[in-house]
């Protein structure tokens, strides 16, 4: 995979349809995610936000009964081609899940896991500390590395799960409901991390909080019942939605 040119979209889907046991959860979705942008996917519960996110790094195929049709490209390369290693895809396109799901190990082991799986040898401390610094969990004291991940607060756990994905230095970061179930202070911290990360990588986030999409993203996509209803500059979509459903959703009048 070659270096991204600014004009080329980093990620794109073409007529993407994902079915679970025959039931279509995403229908004919075509969109382009430009390099270096923060893109939000909003929509009601069950609209397919998570499934769209998971189709970008081939996580859907881990669910039994999942079938993907259409194409997903990363820097122009078909991600679902036969010769593509899904593990490599997931390293380049990192993901932070809705639940932090940390491993019942130390903070260090959690961040180092992806590096070790990739086969990075030698001392991993620099890489781990770098990732922890980005999410504000590194203050120079070694004791945090040995702390048990499950002893951290909910907000710290979420930030650790972001650090875990960042340690692999992904080109793209997929965030599924990054602040779900966090208190306002912890949410604000996570949002400031996302804001700072936009210079490092392209970010796609799924959120059921559309005000968050408004605060963080350059572009916003509105999904409804698996269909892409509207996609464009966040400010335009929020102030002047072209689609009736988008407007109903944003104003809280969706039945």
């Amino acid at each position: 995979m070659s270096a991204p040119g600014p004009a080329l979209p980093v990620l794109s889907t073409e007529r993407l349809t994902v079915r679970f046991d025959g039931k279509a959860v995403l229908k004919d979705v075509s969109l382009e995610i430009p390099f270096g942008q923060v893109v939000s996917i909003i929509g009601p519960a069950g609209s397919g936000k998570t499934t769209l996110l998971r189709s970008f790094n081939r996580m859907n195929e881990l669910m039994p009964g999942a079938k993907t049709a259409g194409t997903v490209r990363f820097q122009g390369v078909d991600l679902y081609a036969a010769d593509i290693d899904p593990a490599e895809v997931r390293r380049r396109i990192g993901m932070v899940f809705q639940k932090a799901t940390l491993f019942p190990k130390s903070v260090f082991d959690n961040v180092a896991f992806g590096l070790r799986a990739k086969g990075v040898e030698g001392d991993l401390h620099d890489l781990v500390e770098e990732a922890l610094t980005v999410v504000g969990l590194w203050s120079g004291g070694a004791e945090v590395l040995d702390a048990r991940a499950l002893d951290l607060t909910a907000g710290e756990q979420r930030r650790l799960s972001i650090a875990r994905a960042l340690a692999l230095k992904p080109d793209c970061l997929l965030l599924d409901e990054p602040t779900a179930a966090l208190d306002p202070a912890a949410s604000a911290k996570v949002e400031s991390i996302i804001h700072a990360l936009r210079h490092e990588c392209t970010i796609v986030l799924a959120t059921s909080d559309h005000t968050q999409a408004g605060r963080l993203s350059d572009l916003t996509a509105y999904l409804d019942s698996g269909r892409l209803m509207e996609y464009g500059a966040t400010q335009e979509l929020f102030t002047n939605p072209r689609n009736e459903r988008t407007e109903s959703y944003l104003t809280g009048r969706l039945p």
Binding site: L62, F97, F103, P104, G114, A117
Partner: protein
């Protein structure tokens, strides 16, 4: 954790359902104490250290469980050495690798059914297959292979449950970080399921150690003057020894049967210790 448990127990004892639970627990414990007490009283005259080493004798007072104890130890070791790797490997394949095809589902349901087959049926199969078919005769090896056939499905069923109890989110988190399937299984799923896997293997082995029926079918000897020194020596084991002594009309042999039962319970208790150690370790590292 212990605090909330104590609180829960306190609440439970107050209600009528809690009282029934306590009563049930007391009855179970009383039955266990009664059983051990009866065995010890019956066996009081034969139980000394020589009893655990001596071979059986025509004279009841001189008999011992030496060969039978050695036979049971042989059986346990061989069964564990074959059934645990085979069973755990099969469970890992079925739970983590196998696609949910009809064939795989059929294999799973066959294994579940095999785990419930009465042990005496394995005895008949073992007689035909190992004793006669392979010409092993009524040897320790034939007994061990028969008990292995009985144990493997249990190990598979228990370990598959242990693996399925690991939440999928763990697997996704590891896959999401670019791990291969084997890395996910080795580094996350197996460590998380390890305590339940050990417990499942122990439970299956305990069933094999206590099985008398299949070994009787194979032709286990109840009178041998030497302890088996290799897998090709004649098959003898504690459960069959208990059965043989209990069936004799002469005075004194019932005490020997009770003594042999104590020996069998001690062997099983030793295996339970492994479970306890394992449970303590789990408390130390997880949750």
């Amino acid at each position: 954790m212990s605090e909330s448990r104590g609180a829960r127990a306190g609440v439970a004892i107050r209600g009528p359902i809690g009282a029934m639970g306590v009563a049930a627990a007391l009855v179970t414990m009383a039955a266990l104490i009664l059983l051990a007490g009866v065995l010890l009283v019956e066996a009081r005259e034969v139980l000394d250290w020589r009893f655990f080493l001596n071979p059986p004798s025509r004279v009841a007072a001189e008999g011992g469980v030496g060969p039978a104890l050695a036979g049971s130890l042989w059986l346990t070791l061989i069964v564990a050495a074959i059934a645990v790797p085979l069973g755990v490997g099969t469970a890992v394949y079925l739970a983590e690798y196998a696609p949910p095809t009809r064939l795989v589902k059929a294999v799973e349901s066959v294994l579940t059914n095999l785990a419930g087959v009465p042990s005496v049926v394995y005895g008949i199969a073992g007689l035909a297959l190992f004793v006669r078919g392979l010409g092993l005769g009524p040897s320790i090896l034939a007994g061990a292979l028969t008990l292995t056939a009985l144990t493997v499905p249990l190990v598979v069923v228990n370990c598959r449950k242990a693996l399925q109890a690991v939440p999928d989110e763990f697997r996704w988190a590891a896959f999401g970080l670019g791990a291969s399937r084997w890395q996910v299984v080795r580094d996350q799923v197996l460590p998380a399921a390890a305590p339940d896997i050990v417990a499942g293997c122990c439970a299956a082995l305990l069933r094999a150690v206590g099985a008398a029926a299949p070994l009787l079918m194979l032709g286990a000897v109840s009178f041998t003057t030497f302890a088996p020194g290799s897998p090709h020596d004649p098959l003898t084991a504690l459960p069959t020894q208990i059965f043989a002594w209990a069936a004799r009309p002469q005075e004194g042999f019932l005490a020997l049967a009770a003594g042999a039962s104590v020996a069998l319970l001690l062997l099983m208790a030793a295996m339970h210790l492994v479970l306890f150690a394992n449970r303590r370790r789990r408390k130390g590292t997880l949750t």
